[in-house]
Amino acid sequence: MINAEAFHAALNLLGNTPAAWLVVPPGLIIGLFFGSIPGLSISIAMAVFLPATLYMDFLPAILFLTAIFTGGGFGGAIPAIMLNIPGTSSSVATAFDGYPMARRGEHAQALGIGLVASVLGTLIGYLLLLFTVQTISQWVLRLGPTEMLVVAIWGVTLIAVLNDASISKGIAAGILGILISTIGYSDAGQMRGTFGSMYLLDGIPVIPALIGFFAASELFNLIGKRYIVEDSRLRVVRFRHILSGMVTAASKPFQLLRGGSMGAVIGAIPGVGASIANLAAYATAKQRSKNPASFGKGNPSGLIAAESANSSSEGGSMITLLALGLPGGAGTAVLLGAFALHNVTGGPRFIRENPDIVYALILGNMAQALLLLLVGLGFIFLAGYIVKLSLKLMIPIVMVLSVIGAYAITGNMVGPITVVATGIIGWLMRRYRFPVAATVVGLLVGGMAEGELVRSMQISGGNLAFVADRPITLVLLTLLLLSVLPRIIGSLVKRRRATS
């Protein structure tokens, strides 16, 4: 399981490299800052600061970038909880229960819960990586296109079916997201849905669309309200409230472990990562809860599941990066760039030849998670004052930030136009009770689903019996059915009773 000799060498390496520790706090603060501003993603922060690692040694360089990764993972939770704007795509499910908690004045508790869930989730992810890095590197190779396709369908179906709206609206919303994700040039070179515009050749930019669906549509609804939390007595940020939230999260070790484990496993699948991990863990927590109706209305368990999963998926994505040299998402893609910058190639050979560095990276990241507890506590104490601001002032500010952030991501007007268009669609969806989250998940996994579907078709020659020879696919399909059937049957029974 663990190479003891390499483990000791890693401890020596970390002890003798003070630079590795000096770069971590600034990295965490940069990550928290970028993650907490809607429109500025973790990958932007990592990409912007990648050149800064040029003159660092390999270990401090990677720890600096992973500190941004870790800080940004929690930073995204801050606007998700305070404004219902996921700062990053991995914080989508955080908003489901975090924002309702903020609306009823429990923003400090929600932030405390998010912080502890993030810290422990990160620790769980890297602990799993520590014990399983060698074994999982062989297991991940067995996931073929059909398995990846089922994982993508599972991600959309869970969110489409497990929501407060009707199942048909959830499915339609998920399909809308999938169809939007196919706009632009396909992998095979076909131009689709561009209306002749060269700006749409690369498709609809995901982050601006996410900002529009979640942020703009919610801001439109908030027009006319004076504060996020209307009651002035509830607009108080107290240290003891943050602390009580932290205690609440720490008192639910099973939920943390479940979310953390799911996040680490899903994060290890290339192309899936934290965006799906937080949604899948949230859906599982809701399904297993004795009171699923309270989810989406400010249930701390939903917040714990989402935050522990998106944080632990960082450790999971590092498995594929270190073991296979494959980036699981945008953040690990930048890390792979940092590897190249320092003439290091990730993959099975890297693990075999440099086990001390691999263990040093894992241990360094676990220490980062503990540091996040201190740095994040100070940061959320400042960020918690957001609810004290008047909405009359905050709505236009956030809107301008979102529009400029969208421009920064795309480098042209496609970003801002996407924010407006998806904002209006999102507002209509909210008004007519379609789940916006299902559309966003469809948008995130649509590209992957299409690629894997085409590959499955090419490998199988269009013969559906091919699936019968794929046991992992069959297991995943069974799990998918088992997870959605109870809700579908329950909904049909409820409707029959209502109409009879």
């Binding site: 048909s168 169809l179 689709r192 849905g193 529009v403 909210r430 007519y432 109409t499």
Partner: protein, 156 residues
């Protein structure tokens, strides 16, 4: 008790929105299928659009039946709040984004902030102008100078 006997209105907005999506899904699937060179070009889109259209038609059918039977679900089909402030703000945001290529992010953001405050009931001109100039200046300079992102600007 009078409320319980009141007839729920036909969910026109919701039905129209669903049917618009049906038309969009259908048009997109047809467009992709017509231009396809092989099965792989439409393999995901056409079946997905078909499932989406079916789901939307089920939604429409359910809403019409609920309205016809005057069940409780019918009163939830339409949003309750007035749409006017939100629609006005959407119009303002659209105008803001449309004018950015001409007047830049600095002046555009300043005007947008002024008008957004006015729309939300702020009548003191010095608050509108002072707040908008300060915020738009800080945000634009933050992106341009600190983050090194090239934004189209007119004044800064």
């Amino acid at each position: 008790m009078a409320a319980s006997t009141q007839r729920h209105g036909f969910p026109l907005g919701s039905v129209l929105f669903s049917l618009s999506l049906v038309a969009l899904f259908g048009y997109y699937a047809h467009d992709v299928h017509a231009a396809a060179r092989g099965v792989t070009d439409w393999l995901l889109i056409v079946p997905a659009a078909g499932i989406g259209i079916t789901a939307l038609l089920v939604t429409v059918g359910t809403q019409v039946i609920d309205w016809y039977r005057q069940s409780d679900a019918a009163k939830h089909a339409e949003g309750d709040a007035s749409a006017l402030p939100a629609v006005l703000f959407m119009g303002l945001l659209t105008l803001y984004v449309a004018t950015i290529p001409i007047i830049g992010f600095d002046l555009g953001s300043l005007l947008f902030l002024c008008l957004a405050l006015y729309l939300q009931g702020e009548k003191r001109w010095w608050v509108m102008v002072g707040f908008s100039a300060l915020v738009s200046g800080i945000i634009v300079l933050l992106f341009v100078k600190l983050l090194g992102i090239r934004l189209p600007t007119l004044l800064l």
